[in-house]
């Protein structure tokens, strides 16, 4: 999988999460795991993909270009973010990397609000690099005006303010044989999330890759609906 280039002349880059170790680990996980795991619905040629929290669009763009990873099927990607600048930059990143405009669609949407699916389709693949850093109220690491940017990493006091509601509800968006790939850090207590949040909502989770990046230990987890996951 080619790593997409983020255009630097958009005037948006300062306002959107810049791809970092977490983004690259998630790309590596997708590259390694998709080919062997993705069965999807073999009778259909279009694969419905959803990225929640698309930021610069680096991951959505990589997937929109990754027919090979999907066994030749054509991806149709919806990219969601709460930051309008991220939605705009995602479309520009797609263009800059020659993604067909029919394959990538950005929508402003809050990923926590999916207890009822706003789309008419369910998704074969859902990808999420969430805001996961534990940040105490008032403990603002960067410039105070950059509220939208802070939302890129701010996971609330325990780091799970986005992750918990998202992981509880995301099964409404996922096809019965769909796959969810999610990046987590040790701060989020992945084992707890798998056991206490995913499982009660019908999702099995397994770790597919991990890496130490500075003081963080990052991992990517794959979730599938129970009863349908392959061994």
């Amino acid at each position: 999988m080619e790593t997409p280039i983020i255009p630097s002349d958009t005037g948006l880059n300062e306002l959107v999460y810049e791809p970092a170790e977490d983004s690259f680990l998630l790309l590596d996980a997708l590259e390694q795991d998709l080919v062997k795991s993705f069965q999807g619905n073999l009778s259909e040629d279009v694969v419905n993909v959803l990225e929640v929290g698309c930021g610069s669009g680096i991951i959505s763009t990589a997937i929109a270009k990754s027919e090979k990873l999907l066994n030749g099927r054509l991806p149709c990607v919806f990219a969601l973010d709460v930051n309008p600048n991220a939605c705009l930059l995602t479309e520009k990143t797609g263009e800059a990397n020659q993604v067909a405009t029919s394959s990538l669609h950005a929508v402003l949407f809050d990923g926590r609000h999916c207890s009822r699916n706003p789309f008419r389709v369910q998704f074969d693949i859902i990808i999420c690099n969430p805001p996961y850093v534990p940040i105490l109220p008032g403990e603002n690491t960067e410039d105070e005006n950059s509220g939208l940017l802070q939302q890129s990493w701010d996971g609330g006091p325990d780091g799970n303010r986005f992750i918990c509601p998202f992981l509880s509800n995301v099964h409404h968006l996922l096809n019965d044989d769909g796959l969810l790939y999610m990046l987590l850090s040790t701060w989020n207590d992945p084992e707890m999330l798998v056991k206490d949040v995913a499982l009660p909502n019908g999702l099995n989770g397994v770790e597919v890759i991990k890496r130490t990046a500075g003081r963080e230990r990052l991992s990517v987890w794959k979730f599938q609906k129970i009863g349908l996951s392959s061994v």
Binding site: L74, P84, E91
Partner: protein
């Protein structure tokens, strides 16, 4: 926002909304941007499209001639038809405007080509 996106979106995340589809479309600014035509992609996509809703959408934003009112039976082999479908789904873009929930009247603005489907916490729970 492409008409494809309009075809796929509902307002069902709002509590008590039953179907939330189709969203009424009002366009203040529309742009047509040519894009690569891939016949396989379009023909694989068509089973997921609500053609009636797409037709209505083209009518409501001043592109009444874009597509016929009903879907062609042999579309997989009909390149002319697929090109029209491609144009309507992926080339006609609403840059500024709004979508309206058919049940609650809730408005979803479209700005700079991005649909804003954000809702408040008290609208979903």
């Amino acid at each position: 926002m492409k008409l494809f996106t309009h075809n796929m979106l509902t307002s069902k995340m709002i509590k008590n909304v039953k179907v939330g589809y189709p969203l009424k479309l009002n366009a203040a600014e529309v742009k047509v941007t040519p894009s690569e035509f891939r016949s396989t992609y379009v023909s694989r996509m068509l089973p997921k499209i609500d053609w009636g809703v797409l037709y209505e959408a083209t009518q409501s934003i001043g592109h009444a001639e874009a597509i016929p009112s009903s879907i062609s039976d042999d579309y997989e082999k009909n390149e002319d038809f697929l090109r029209k479908a491609h144009h309507a789904l992926f080339e006609i873009e609403v840059i500024n405007g709004e979508m309206i929930c058919p049940e609650t009247g809730r408005k979803f603005p479209i700005k700079d080509g991005i649909p804003n489907m954000l809702v408040n916490e008290d609208e979903v729970n």
